[in-house]
Amino acid sequence: MVIIKILKWSIAIIFMIIFSILYRTYNPSENIYFPKCPFRELTGLKCPGCGSQRAVHYLLNFEIYNATKENAILVLSIPYIMIGLVFDLLKRPNERILKWRKRLFGKKVIFIILTIIITFWVLRNII
């Protein structure tokens, strides 16, 4: 079981390194070899995830402003996901941590996230 776990993680890390090098070196908007968004190909409209490959390219080059222009919620979600990972990794959370976990990742916040994503989806096609 431990060996499988190590194997899994090493494969994941190898892919992450390949992914990072590729996206850091090549700008997806100047290159035809990157996957296209099927929603945009079909409808001509942007989905909430459109621009995330370009945003990752800029983030890996530390150009946060350009990344935000490509996909703002992706950039905004990164600190939130980081905090969430820390909360998930705590094995024996105490009462205060659980209270904050409930506040930051509870039902209300999840619905706010859904609303933000859908609003973003609509707005980026109008503006």
Binding site: P48, G49, L85
Partner: protein, 159 residues
Amino acid sequence: MKKYFYTDGTNYFGPFTLEELREKNITRDTKVWFQELDEWKPAGTIPELADIFKFVPPPIENQNSNLNNMENLIYQKPPKKWLLEAILVTLFCCVPFGIAGIVNAAKVEDRFYAGDIEGAYRASSKAKLWTTIGFWIGFTIFVIYLIYFVIAGAVIGYY
């Protein structure tokens, strides 16, 4: 005449007759023993002592313990709800699968704090399902493009 003993957990008292025992203010939870019993038993479970508790209302411990459980839930960790993974799937690959994951993450949270632990676990596995489907679709597309990229690069390199 039958003789009864009762215990407070550390010491035992007795022997008492049924009449004497009646005056000892024992409760249904008090462990009693008499010669026919193999071990100490709660007084409430012995039919011949039922008479003592005729005018004592039955315990309401069931509702109380439920209430305590509900309060304790706030201090427990709900099952994994796949929220972070679902957000990433939404933003990187597959909006419908990601949204299905996020909705189920909300259900995990909702059901867990409503006391429906089993339902929370069901929602958790659903959230996992949608998120992993989304992840593997995205991953497969990425790998296909990666292979294409390498082959195309090699071909261009030749000419």
